[in-house]
């Protein structure tokens, strides 16, 4: 199926700013789904609130545009009632790790078969550029006009320690890797986390004098390195990208169905 068959073309051009990386995440995600030849009716995409969350409006799958921070809770409900469906949950950094941080760690701990995509632009884009838990120390935001004093989460380490069984990171510059990783994340049985560094030129870029979308992508190219690379060992400031964890563990819905079988037998 061609990419355009997965789109709700009537809503295009989309609402994101010129050069916003969220569109590239949508692009890569659709190509992953195309490569997997998934049926539209077998995909449920659930999002919360934010510029990133608007992604569900543009795809012709089953979609739920829910409330800020709670996309994973809605997705858990859908998955528990219909474990045969593929659940994909794209979230902003604020959505996933500020207001939604608790849902995130517990979904990871349960290892429920959901693909969580964190579209990390290090800012609250939708509401005007407030800092998020991923903005990072020393960075500027509308709510940190003298620089931010909060330290950022490392999404990858957080996801691993919370129990996610597939954890990866890439950027909107590394588009082939983006498609490949999302494809593997969807195929993985268990809780998958894909962090995508994605540019918000309008707020994060402008506030931090990082230039426009082109310069921000150049920065992703120059400030990242493949996981375990020599360059990363020499220069620890480089951000690693690639697959960090990929392991098999009992999955939540499978375990739950075993419990139901036990309970039915005892009656």
């Amino acid at each position: 199926m061609a990419i355009k068959d997965y789109l709700r073309e009537r809503f295009f051009p989309h609402m994101w700013c010129p050069g916003c990386g969220h569109g590239t995440v949508l692009n890569g995600m659709l190509r992953a789904i195309e490569n997997l030849a998934l049926e539209k009716n077998d995909i449920v995409m659930v999002s919360g609130i934010g510029c990133s969350a608007r992604i569900t409006g543009y795809v012709d799958f089953h979609t739920l545009h829910t409330i800020h921070g709670r996309a994973l809770a809605f997705a858990t409900g859908v998955k528990m009632s219909r474990p045969d469906l593929n659940l994909i949950v794209p979230m902003g950094d604020g959505d996933a790790l500020a207001i939604g941080g608790n849902h995130f760690i517990h979904a990871a701990r349960r290892n429920i078969d959901i693909t969580a995509i964190i579209m990390n632009n290090r800012i609250y884009g939708m509401t005007g550029g407030q800092f998020s838990p991923l903005t990072g120390y020393g960075k500027m935001a509308t709510t940190a006009p003298y620089a931010n004093i909060d330290h950022a989460f490392d999404t990858v380490s957080l996801a691993i320690s919370a129990g996610a069984t597939f954890v990866a990171r890439t950027t909107t510059y590394h588009v082939k890797q983006l498609t490949d990783i999302i494809q593997k994340a969807i195929q993985h049985k268990g809780f998958s986390v894909v962090e995508v560094l994605t540019q918000c030129p309008t707020y994060f870029g402008r506030k931090n004098k990082e230039g426009g979308a082109v310069e921000m992508l150049e920065n992703y190219k120059n400030s990242t390195t493949p996981v375990g690379s020599q360059a990363g060992q020499v220069n620890p400031d480089l951000i690693e990208r690639g697959i960090f964890v990929e392991k098999q563990m009992p999955e939540y819905c499978s375990e739950y169905s075993k419990i139901i079988q036990k309970a039915v037998k005892r009656k």
Partner: protein, 69 residues
């Protein structure tokens, strides 16, 4: 099976927002922005059908059609 040969670069100018990503990162410098800041193929003969523009465009405005298709 040889390398895919370009048939046509389809650019939906009504979807393009002129961000310049495709122009800057095309390895062959095929693309340019016109006076309305819309991308167009200035040198299609140089295109190697790598599809990077298609994959990177945040507005899903580019489709690279090759001969095999």
């Amino acid at each position: 099976m040889g390398k895919p040969k370009l048939k046509e670069l389809h650019i939906r100018q009504d979807w393009c927002k002129g961000c310049g990503i495709c122009v800057h990162f095309c390895p062959q410098k095929v693309l340019e922005l016109d006076d309305k800041d819309k991308a167009f193929a200035a040198r299609p003969q140089d295109c190697i059908s790598c599809r990077l523009c298609e994959l990177r465009c945040p507005d899903l405005a580019i489709e690279v059609e090759t001969e095999e298709e």
